[in-house]
Symmetry: D3
Subunit: 248 residues, 6 copies
Amino acid sequence: MQLLLSTWAEAEAYLKTSKGIILPIGSTEQHGPNGLIGTDALCAEVIARGVGDATGAMVGPTIPVGMAVHHMEFAGSMTLKPSTLIALLRDYVLSLSEHGFQRFFFVNGHGGNIASVRAAFYEIYAENRALRGKDAPDLRCTLVNWWENAEVSRLSKELFGNKEGSHATPSEVSVTQYAFPDSIKTTAMEPETAAAGGFYDARDFRRRHPDGRIGSAPGLARPEHGQRLVEAAVGAISRQYESFLGEA
Amino acid sequence: MQLLLSTWAEAEAYLKTSKGIILPIGSTEQHGPNGLIGTDALCAEVIARGVGDATGAMVGPTIPVGMAVHHMEFAGSMTLKPSTLIALLRDYVLSLSEHGFQRFFFVNGHGGNIASVRAAFYEIYAENRALRGKDAPDLRCTLVNWWENAEVSRLSKELFGNKEGSHATPSEVSVTQYAFPDSIKTTAMEPETAAAGGFYDARDFRRRHPDGRIGSAPGLARPEHGQRLVEAAVGAISRQYESFLGEA
Amino acid sequence: MQLLLSTWAEAEAYLKTSKGIILPIGSTEQHGPNGLIGTDALCAEVIARGVGDATGAMVGPTIPVGMAVHHMEFAGSMTLKPSTLIALLRDYVLSLSEHGFQRFFFVNGHGGNIASVRAAFYEIYAENRALRGKDAPDLRCTLVNWWENAEVSRLSKELFGNKEGSHATPSEVSVTQYAFPDSIKTTAMEPETAAAGGFYDARDFRRRHPDGRIGSAPGLARPEHGQRLVEAAVGAISRQYESFLGEA
Amino acid sequence: MQLLLSTWAEAEAYLKTSKGIILPIGSTEQHGPNGLIGTDALCAEVIARGVGDATGAMVGPTIPVGMAVHHMEFAGSMTLKPSTLIALLRDYVLSLSEHGFQRFFFVNGHGGNIASVRAAFYEIYAENRALRGKDAPDLRCTLVNWWENAEVSRLSKELFGNKEGSHATPSEVSVTQYAFPDSIKTTAMEPETAAAGGFYDARDFRRRHPDGRIGSAPGLARPEHGQRLVEAAVGAISRQYESFLGEA
Amino acid sequence: MQLLLSTWAEAEAYLKTSKGIILPIGSTEQHGPNGLIGTDALCAEVIARGVGDATGAMVGPTIPVGMAVHHMEFAGSMTLKPSTLIALLRDYVLSLSEHGFQRFFFVNGHGGNIASVRAAFYEIYAENRALRGKDAPDLRCTLVNWWENAEVSRLSKELFGNKEGSHATPSEVSVTQYAFPDSIKTTAMEPETAAAGGFYDARDFRRRHPDGRIGSAPGLARPEHGQRLVEAAVGAISRQYESFLGEA
Amino acid sequence: MQLLLSTWAEAEAYLKTSKGIILPIGSTEQHGPNGLIGTDALCAEVIARGVGDATGAMVGPTIPVGMAVHHMEFAGSMTLKPSTLIALLRDYVLSLSEHGFQRFFFVNGHGGNIASVRAAFYEIYAENRALRGKDAPDLRCTLVNWWENAEVSRLSKELFGNKEGSHATPSEVSVTQYAFPDSIKTTAMEPETAAAGGFYDARDFRRRHPDGRIGSAPGLARPEHGQRLVEAAVGAISRQYESFLGEA
Ligand code: NI
Ligand code: NI
Ligand code: NI
Ligand code: NI
Ligand code: NI
Ligand code: NI
C-alpha cells in the first residue's frame, strides 16, 4: 500500500490496523561507468514497495537525495548536508507521528546515509520528548540496508564472488537493470574490477576511485540477477519488518 | 532525460550542451475523498518528465514532500517546515551548481510550496554570493505551477467550468487517474462541489473544509481528461522552459 | 494606537477589546535615482499607522529591513536572508501570542518580502502546533501589500498611467515625499521611464536595471499625489483589516 | 544623515568619505506604569540621530525589537530569541559590509541586548573570516549604551539621585517624554520608588518586580529633563563615535 | 603532547612536524549501578593521552558530553542533540584546520556518538569545500572506538567472557577504576549479568534496562584489569593512528 | 562531588538534597609566550572543583572550548562560534533540568565567553518557557568569573600590581603552574609587560598584541602565587554559590 496512491481516508483506515510505515531512502549520486545516478533511490524504492506488497505495510514516498558529499566530484551527483537530511527526517517522522504512526522502518539504498539517518533518529527522539513531554508517543525508528541480510549476501556472493565491491556494485546495478530495463547502459570498463579502498572527502574519493567504482565489477550486472536480488531482499526485509512491528 | 536514469558520464556530456535542469516538486497531503495523497508530486513528475522528453532537458528527482502544514489534520499528510524546505532546496541547487548547472526550472504541483520555494531562491542567491564572491556563477531559478498557463486554464474551464475549485481539483485528480489508472478511487461526495474559501492553519482548514476539498468537484475527474491536461501542460511548459533558457 | 507609544497596562487593556495587531514591514534598499532607501519601510509605516488611527487597531513596530538580496549591488541596501526573516517573524508573532494576540495583519511595503512572509506564516503555524499541542491558540496571519487594492490601483493609474512600473514607482516615491517633505530628491533620470522586466540575483538585477528602477518614471512623483495615495490606501486597508477581524 | 532618507547614490557618495555607520538598537518591552513599551527603541533612535547630525555619520534603521525574554510576563512585550537577534545582526553587518561599510557603531537602548549583541560581533567576525578568507575586510563593531558615559551619569544623578534605578528609569522615561510629548502618561505608582534587585526568567522578573520597574521612580520623569539627557548623550556619544573612527 | 598543556609557540612548532591531532570524545551518562557517569569521557581521555605519549601526537581537549538522548531517564545524564554535536565538531575541526591541522583522529568512548560523529565528518567536508573552494585543504577525519580492535576484544573476552555486554561493561568500568582509584564504587547488582537487548528512545531504554546496564556484569570490574585494557588499547590505537597519518 | 565520578544513583540521591550544579567553562586559546593554551579551562576546572569540595555541590564536566574567535591567528587556538556555544549550553542546561537541576552556576575562566553565556541564559529561559509552558520549572542560571571578586582582585594586585593586564595574566598563569607543575614554561618575553589595549577581530588582535599577551607580565607567574589565588577564588566563589542557592 503506497501512501502516495492512497486517499486520506484510506490512510486513516490503515492506521486503525497498524502503526507501521516503510520509508525508502536513497541517493542521487554517481554509480560508476554503467550505474545509474539514481541507483540507490531506485533500489530502495523497488524493494520497499515489494516489502509493502508482501506485508501489507504502508510505504511512504522515497527520499531520492541523501548524503553524498563524497561523490560531488562526479557530474550529476546531488547531496544534502547531514544537517539538512536530519532536519528532513525529523519533519517526516514528526509529521507522520501526528496521525498515529509510531513505527518507522527505513529501507536504505546508500551506505553514506547511515550515519545521518541514525543521528536523525535521536534528534527525533529528543524533539518528541522535548515537545510532547509525558504524553509523547513511543516512537521507534530503525534502518535496514537492503543488501545487509543473509539472503542477499549469499546471493551476491554466489553471483559475483569477490567482484561485488562496495560502491557501484554489480548487485545494485543488476537491480536497476531489472527494474528499468530501458535504461541498461553498456560501458567498457578498465579494469574489469575496480580497486577497493576507503576515501575521505570528494576530491580524495575521485583521486582514489577515478571512475567512481569501489572494488566492484558492475559489468557483470544482469537484469535476471537483479530480479533474484530483489526477491531475496523483499523476503528478508519483510521478515525484518514483521519482527520490528512485533517487538515488545 | 532523467538524471536518476543517467550515468555520471551522461550527465557530464549533457552539461556540455545545456546548463538547464528541470526539478519537479510536489507534496504528500490529503486531496479530498477521491484524490491521492501523492497527487501533487505525481502530477509534477509526470508533467516534468513530459517536458523533459519534449525539450531534451535533464529532469532531476521529484521532491515528494513539500510544505503542507495546513493539511496536517488529515491522516497521511506529511510536511516539511518552510525552513526545512528552504534548506533542502539550497542543497539541491548548490550541489547541482557545482557541476555547472545554472538554470533551475521547478515544475510545481502544490500551491502551498510557492512561498517557500520563492524564498529559497533568494536564500540560494545569497549563499551563492556569500560563498563564492566575485567568481559566483550566474544562477537563475524559476518556478512554474503546472496549472498556471493559458492552455491548461482553458482546458480546465472547458472540462469543469466553475467546479474546478482550488484544492483537490478535478483537473489534478484527472491527471493522476490518467497516470495511475490502477489507483482510481470512486468515493461518494457530498455535496458534489465543495464550498470554496480560504483558511489559516491546519485546524482552521479542517473546520472550514471538512473533507479536504476546496471549491471543487473532483468526482468529475476522468483519466481521459487527465491525458488532455498533461498534453496541454507539457506543451505550454515546454515553451516556458525554452524561453527561460533563452533569456539574455 | 501604537504599541511603542503605549504602556503595558494599555496593551493589557487593549487585549480585552481586540486580539488584532497590525505589523508594518518594509525594506531598506535602493529605490532608484530619487527614491529613498527607506521607501518601503516608510510607506508601510505611514499607511499602517493611518489604518491604526482609522480602526483603533494596535500597530506594532515597523520591520525596517526585509528580504532584498536582489538589491545588494546598490550601495546602502540591506537584507535579511529569507531564513533570518522567517526566524524574526516567528519570534514576533509567537511572543505577541503569549499575551493573547491572535490576528496578525502585516502591512507590507516591499514585493520582495512576500514569499518569505508567507513562508513564515506556516513556520509559525507549525511551531504553534508543535509547541502548544491541543491548547494552541488559533493564530491567523495575513499580509496585504499597500498598493494592491482597487483604490490605490485606480489612483496610481490615474496619476501615472503606464509609467508606474514595478520598482521605485512614482506612487511609492510620492508617498515618501508626502511623509518626509524635507527629504525630496530631485535627480535627473535618463530615460524618463526605465525599462521594465524581471531579474534573478543581484548582479542580474543591476545588469538589467542599472539605475535601480524597473519600468517606472519616479520623476513624476509629487507629495500631493502621495497624500492622496496614503488616504486611498488607508481607506482600503482599513476595510481589509476590519474584514480580517470579522472572519468566522 | 539617515540611510532610510538617502538615495543609493548618496550612500555611495558617503562611502567615499567614511566607512562608519551608526545603528540604533532598542527593545519593545514593558517599561513600568508610565513608561512606553517602545522606550528603549525610541531613546536609541533619537540619540543616534542626534549623533548622526552632530558628526555627519550615516545612521541606519533602528532595530526596534531586541532581546526581552525576561519581560514576557507583561502585556505587549516582544522579544527575539538571542539566536535570532544574532542572525539578524549578522545579516545587517555583512550586508552593509558588501558596500564598503567597515565600522559599525551600535547605539543601544536596552541592557538586555548587550550580551546578544556582543556575541553577535564574534559571530560576524567568524563569518567574515570563514566566507572571505584572506581578502576579508577589517570589520569593527562596537556597542555603546546611551546612558553609560560620564555626562549622562552625572546628569541622571543630579536629576534623580538614587531614584534612577535600573529599569523603567526616570531618565529614559524623560527622554521619551521629550521626544514624544503627546505620549506622556500620568500613572500613580506605589511605592514611588520600586524595589531594586536582580531577576532570572520572565516569571521570576514579574514576581520580584510586579509593576515592571526595578529600583526606579519614573514618576519623576519630565520632558525638560529628557531634553538635557539627550543633549548630554549626543555630546558624549559623538565623541565616542569620532574616537571609534579614529582608532588605528 | 597535550594541546591544553602547550603554548601556542609549541603548537606552531608541532605543526611543522605533523598535521595530525587526536581528539578524545566521550559522554556524560549513566553507566549502571557501579559505573561512573563520566565513564566514556574518562576512558577516551586516558587512552587518547596514552596514544599521544606513545606516538608524540598532539592530543586536544576531551569532548565530555556527547549524544546520549537514550540515557535521559537516568539521573545525571547529559546530552547534546545530534545537530548540536555536529555543529560543535564542525567548529572544532574547522578552527583547528585554520592552523594547518589536517588529520583528525577521534578516539571515542561511546557507541551513541558514532552516527553523529560520522555525520559530522561529511558536514565538515561539505563546509570546507563550500567555504574554501579550490584552495580547500585536504581534511581527513576518522573515528576509532577504543574497544574495537583485536587486542582489546581478545582481552575483554579473556577477562569477562560473555559477561562483557554492551553498556556499562566490566571493561570500561575497569578502566575508570584503574584511572580513578578513589572513585571505585561497590554496589550490589541483581542479577549479576544484566539482560542484553536493544532499545529505542530513553523511556524504552529504561523500561528494558532498568538499572542502566545492557548485557553486562560490571561487578567483575577490577582496576588491574583496567590497566591491562588501557595498555592494550593504547598499543592498538597507536598503530591505527600511525597508519592513519601514513595513508597516501 | 563530581558528576563524572558519580553513579546515576548518587546523582539521584544528590538531587534530593540540592537542585544546584556548578559548571566550569573555559577556553582553548593562546595565552602568550608562557601561558598554556588550556589556561582558561584548567583554571575554571580547578577552582570549580575546589568550590564543589568546599560546599558539597555537584560539579559537572568542564566545557573546554569556548568562544575564542579573536585568538584564531595564534596556532592551537580553538573556538566555537557564539551560536554553537549557545546551542551547547542550551542542551547542557535543558538536559540537566530534566532530572531536577534548577540552579546552574557557571564558573568561567575566559572573558570572551561572557556575552555568549549570558545570551545563552535567555535562549534557555525562552526554550524552557516555550517547550514546557505553565509547568516549566523555575530555572536560574548565573555566571561568575573566577577573578572577579574582592579576594582575588586584592591578591592579584598585591602580587602583580599593574602588571596583571587582561589576557595571559600572571594570575592565571600562576594558577596553572600550581595545578600543573610539570607544564611550567620558561620563555623569555620582550618587553616584560605587554602593551595594553582593546582589539576587534583575530587579525586585529594579532596586529596589536603580537605575542598574545594584553597588558600583562606573565613572567612573574609562580606556582605558589597560584596556590594562594586558587584558595582565594575558592573561598569567594563558595560564598557566591551559597548565596545563589539561598536566593528567594
Ligand atoms: Ni549505491
Ligand atoms: Ni494538489
Ligand atoms: Ni519599494
Ligand atoms: Ni529601558
Ligand atoms: Ni560507556
Ligand atoms: Ni585566560
